[in-house]
């Protein structure tokens, strides 16, 4: 049979394809629907948080930091409750990472503050002596791209039914409002001002007051949300 295949390239190629596609079908397809169900209380990211998540992705923070706490005592002691599947239901893409050059961040919002993050990104060794993380000073002057973040939120709302502008937990209130871009931007600015004030850096506060959100502020809003 194999001799015959080697003289008939078309059937050879079909044979190879069937053999390699097999595992994917068995492993991936059956679990797809179930795996995307959100855990109770999970909420989509607000506009500012999403903009911060995009900053996290743009500078490839996931190259050195994981967001996946494994169910071992050493990890739950260090980082907190182990990660649950449904917590990631609104993560597009997933950001588990594959290498911990720095610590896990899945629950970093529980144990770091806004001003700690600001100091850390400005000069890592000022808060963690011996750190090999470089400073990310450009985040303090770059302006976060709210429009692209809004485009992403609106896209996932339209295409994947992510529950923006909906009452998710059944208490009669909209949980994560999105609305029009102007409404969403206004809300993001108010949120950003709060975060900027927490960083205790006047330059960041001033920028937000001028209607421009520095990337670092959006990023901190996202990191604070991780808990």
């Amino acid at each position: 049979m194999f001799g015959w295949l080697e003289r008939n390239p078309f059937f050879f190629a079909v044979g190879v394809f069937v053999v390699i596609a097999f595992a994917g079908l068995i492993e991936i397809v059956p679990d797809f629907a179930q795996q995307s169900r959100p855990v109770a209380g999970a909420k989509p990211y607000s506009l500012l948080e999403l903009a911060g998540r995009q900053v996290y992705i743009k500078d490839s923070c996931n190259a050195c930091h994981s967001q996946l706490i494994r169910p071992f005592k050493s990890e739950t002691d260090r980082y907190g409750m182990y990660s649950l599947n449904g917590e990631y239901a609104y993560d597009r893409p997933f950001l588990w990472g594959s290498k911990r050059t720095g610590p896990d961040l899945h629950r970093v919002g529980n144990y770091r503050t806004s001003d700690w993050h600001a100091n850390h990104m400005w000069d890592p060794t000022s808060v963690v002596p011996g750190s090999i993380m470089p400073a990310y000073k450009h985040m303090f002057t770059n302006v976060a791209d709210l429009e692209t973040a809004y485009a992403e939120a609106l896209t996932v709302k339209k295409v994947f039914n992510v529950p923006y502008d909906k009452d998710i937990d059944g208490d009669g209130k909209v949980d994560v409002p999105l609305g029009s871009f102007d409404e969403a931007k206004k809300r993001a600015l108010a949120y950003a001002l709060k975060v900027a004030e927490e960083t205790k850096r006047q330059d960041l506060v001033d920028m937000v007051k001028q209607g421009k959100i520095p990337e670092i502020v959006a990023l901190i809003a996202y990191l604070n949300r991780l808990k």
């Binding site: 795996q35 990631y88 597009r92 290498k99 750190s131 990310y136 450009h138 973040a149 295409v159």
Partner: protein
Amino acid sequence: MQNPAIEYDYTVARWFSYLAILFGILGMGIGVWIAFELAFPELNYVAGQYSLFSRLRPIHTNVVAYGFTLSGIWATWYYVGQRVLKVSLAESKFLQGIAKLHFWLYFFTALAAVVSLLARYTTSKEYAQFEWPLDIAVVLIWVLWGISIFGLIGIRREKTLYISMWYYIATFLGVAMLYLFNNMEVPTYLITGMGDPLHSVSMYAGTNDAMVQWWFGHNAVAFVFTVPIIAMIYYYLPKESGQPVYSYKLSLLSFWGLMFVYLWAGGHHLIYSTVPDWMQTMGSIFSVILILPSWGSALNMLLTMKGEWGQLKENPLIKFMVLASTFYMLSTLEGPIQSIKSVNALAHFTDWIPGHVHDGTLGWVGFMIIAAIMHMAPRFYKREIYSKKLLEMQFWLQTTGIVLYFSSMWIAGITQGMMWRAVDQYGNLAYSFIDTVTVLHPYYTLRGIGGLFYFIGLFMWAYNFYKTMTAAKQIEKEPAFASPMAG
């Protein structure tokens, strides 16, 4: 029966060879740089935000995987394809045109990819970072390669497909399937008319996204770093040594075994994650089974040298290829060991993983491509290889580099894993995270030095190739077996 001497058309094979050398130096140069950044963080600021570790790391992996390796694969495809099918590209103006188009589209896409990554455009999925317009370009490149493969098969004179052809076909199909599914994304601008036109959002969320990504991620290793490299060794080692492949049956068994087993193993990247337990177990078990077909090919190659081990002393190209097979065996034993759950619990997220990747890429992939291109050089230019001595020196320097690399990363990874889980007498964690970082400094330095050795070797390679092309002694006709080389 006897073919009139076919004049093979090496133009595109030559172009891809130049590119492999160029991207090898670029990609591994960045690799050495970021390795030293981990040991000496001040290096991060040399070019402002553009030299930050996190910015360069995806560029390093992409340039090595898709720049160096793919160029090497295609350099050999445009050489081996013609020879084992017994047709010349020059016989079909159409296929010749496709080959050239393939090269140029690839070249400009590669440039655009580097620029876009430097400009912070990334989807963040490892080894699949390109945004959607580049993904489309990649698909086009792949289609062109497909036309080239099946076009050449269509006009072949040799009825039976040689083993290398099986592997080239599998590479084409495997990567096509994996790449398409993993890069499914929705361009946000097309839906909303707002924001950055290049931005997109993944079709899959959370755990699903992770499953698809590692089904891709691991198997990109399979179909870019393994399958086509086996295609090469099945052609170049018998050719260079003048020995027939040891066993046809073993090659059959290992080919179909590899095809069937490899795709299951992706799950081993997700052990102790939130994917279902049965999938983690499957990933683990199949990774261990994967030793069989992998060692099958490697042993088949090593046994091809049976009774001819003397050649190892005489011919540096044989050295490169035999050591490549040996590193392949090492890597495909190490990987399954890391996939065992209890070992994975220790090794995952540590430097042992990059250590594992690099004994594979530097030893197996890098050595095989270097040997293949040096085997082709005398045929390309009808000249001897310029210097055997330089090739020998390169071999030993690079081998030392690889050994330094993986041994330092083994120690670093296991140290890190042990320190993360260490507890004191009261059951409290013994170390803070930063303790586990600062302790690695000597290993990171050693790794950088290992990488530097390998990198210097690449310059010797480039120089030797260049001199072969321009200044080496001319030969009358193509050598049948061992490549002629000057002392």
